[in-house]
């Protein structure tokens, strides 16, 4: 297929959100040496503006969907949905990072440039329809995240988190790539559509090479979304990384990882679904069980959220195992709800942690409700949503996922998943008991007043969680339409 070597205006327009993010990131790197203050809020403002502009451009671009760069990118509803989601995650990360970086005396220029680069990679993952672009997006996102995890160079825990994330992340990428190479050999193409067309006739009895490729890519992506049995990096990384970075890692790369998971497995590998469904089934059950039971015994709040994040990856995999458009829409809805409630919970830890991130244990939440009722109320909303209580986004997320699973006759997975969410209620409720039924401890005594940025960082995700719980149709309709476009 001859491709015009020179990109046209349409191509560039469809690539505009990523271009904006990369330009702004580069601009910050250029400006960084010119700004004397180490923790200047200027870069945060610039990042916020860029992300808002990026969301506007991505939404405007959705009115003219189609491929770009000869089929390398596919800007459809699915891509727009995830682009808006990851850039929205970016906004929710920038807000708590203002007071956090000021308190820890962190270099804001480097932080925000890396954040923008990572998000640009995730946007690329969302819109890619060719394995080479998926790979490049994955790596732009991952490599920036490795550096972000080790952002505090002098902090031993941050170093360790970065190293573990880096080693296991690049190991996973290598596996993913090996799968891509096998797909290329078996089908002679790396375009997802063409792969699907070439696998289609082999539906009944696919060659070993294609099944092996699907398995290898499953392992690689499983690492990226921290699904069990590839989850061992997540608790260490989330605990050791700076708190806003942990929040980012648990929402941004995970959402983008699931975007390519859905895109690759439901389009390219769609015809051989019966062969990979048991894999997803097993991984999802294992993630839910390992995540929830390990979270029960944790003493560190960030580590507990890491295990809960593994369990939530399991819930999304249930939707993938359903292998239907309803399932894809449910997964997309869940990722939005999850991003809101999880980033919110991490933002509270970031607020409470104090200089040097001393206070991140569950014990440190003692008596928070007496000292700062508003913060405690916000955390209550996030935790109730993580449990899946009605009127919150988490409830409808789980509801849609398990409904999709039942429609696809995954009765056992649904039953075991529901039992799991009951177990999960225990460790989230423990935090509520700490906040409301204890006298204030040293952390609650030392908590600083809510700054406007921190207030926005708590209220926005709380509003999101409640809106998703009261008017779930708004996002679900959009997700349903977007997953229809995904062939």
């Amino acid at each position: 297929m001859p491709v015009n070597a020179y990109p046209g205006a349409t191509d560039l327009l469809r690539f505009l959100p990523e271009t904006l993010l990369i330009l702004a990131g580069t601009l910050i790197m250029v400006l960084d040496p010119l700004v004397k203050r180490r923790s200047s809020p200027l870069f945060g403002h610039l990042t916020l503006l860029t992300l808002i502009a990026g969301i506007a451009v991505a939404i405007a671009g959705a009115s003219n969907p189609g491929p770009a760069f000869g089929g390398m990118l596919m800007v459809d509803g699915f891509a727009t949905f995830f682009r808006v989601l990851v850039m929205g995650v970016g906004i929710l990360i920038v807000l708590p990072s203002y007071p956090f970086l000021a308190r820890q005396d962190g270099e804001t220029g480097a932080f925000h440039a890396l954040l923008l680069f990572s998000i640009s990679g995730q946007c690329l993952m969302a819109s890619a329809s060719d394995l080479i672009i998926i790979f490049i997006g994955l790596e732009i996102s991952s490599i920036s995240s490795y550096v972000l995890a080790g952002f505090f160079r002098d902090d031993k825990r941050s170093n360790e988190a970065a190293l573990k994330y880096f080693l296991l992340g690049s190991f996973a990428t290598a596996f993913f790539l090996y799968g891509v190479a096998l797909i290329y050999g078996a089908t002679g193409t790396i375009n997802l559509d063409a792969v699907r067309r070439s696998i289609g006739p082999l539906r009944a009895d696919p060659p070993v090479m294609i099944v092996a490729a699907a398995a290898l890519m499953f392992v690689g992506l499983g690492f990226k979304v921290s699904a069990s049995p590839f989850q061992m990096w997540a608790p260490d990384v989330y605990q050791g990384a700076p708190t806003p970075v942990s929040a980012f890692l648990s929402a941004g790369p995970k959402a983008a990882g699931f975007a390519i998971f859905l895109r690759i497995f439901l389009t390219a590998f769609g015809p051989i679904g019966a062969h990979w469904e048991p894999l997803v089934w097993g991984a999802s059950l294992l993630s839910m069980t390992v995540g929830n039971f390990a979270a029960l015994t944790q003493t560190n709040f960030k580590r507990m959220l890491a295990y809960s994040s593994i369990a939530h990856a399991g819930y999304v995999l249930v939707a993938l195992a359903a292998r239907s458009q309803v399932g894809a829409a449910a997964a997309m809805f869940y990722l939005v709800a999850y991003a809101c409630m999880n980033i919110g919970a991490f933002a509270v830890v970031s607020h409470l942690s104090g200089r040097g991130e001393k206070y991140t244990d569950i014990e440190d939440f003692k008596g928070l409700a007496q000292k700062q009722p508003l913060t405690a109320a916000m955390l209550t909303i996030f935790l109730l949503s993580l449990i899946g209580v009605p009127l919150t986004g988490g409830f409808f997320g789980k509801f849609y996922i398990f409904r999709a699973a039942l429609e696809s006759h995954l009765v056992w997975l649904t039953v075991l998943g529901l039992l799991n969410s009951a177990v999960a209620a225990y460790y989230y409720l423990r935090i509520l008991v700490m906040m409301y039924m204890h006298e204030p401890g040293p952390a609650a005594e030392a908590v600083e007043p809510l700054s406007p940025a921190m207030g926005a960082a708590l209220i926005l995700p709380a509003l999101g969680t409640l809106v998703l719980g009261i008017f779930p149709g708004w996002v679900l309709d959009f997700a349903g339409k977007s997953s229809e476009l995904m062939r």
Partner: protein
């Protein structure tokens, strides 16, 4: 003696994948773990180029160039992280890096 065919390249690549995976899982020195990951990436490159040759296409070779570039970027960041860690901890043994429960 039979000529070298695609299947020979695939066997070589699978062997490299195996050596790399065993290396990552069993070695304790972090630099050697990094080298093992590079071995897997080169296994991927051999595969891509062998397929590219067999299919008479250029796509695989272009992909391999991207993989090489990515491996360089990854190694640069990885060594940077390693140096930051070594300054604080003075060790390169994976099992001594246990501040956070592994």
């Amino acid at each position: 003696m039979q000529p070298v065919s695609t299947i020979h390249y695939l066997v070589l690549s699978a062997a490299l994948l195996l050596i790399g995976t065993v290396g990552v899982l069993t070695r304790r020195n972090i630099v050697i773990i990094l080298m093992s990951i590079e071995l897997i990436l080169n296994a991927v490159n051999i595969n891509l180029i062998a397929f590219s040759h067999a299919l008479h296409q250029v796509t695989g070779q272009v992909f391999a160039i991207f993989v090489i570039t990515d491996a360089v970027a990854e190694a640069a960041v990885g060594l940077g992280i390693l140096i930051a860690l070594f300054r604080n901890r003075e060790t390169l043994q994976a099992d001594e890096i246990d501040l956070l429960k592994w």
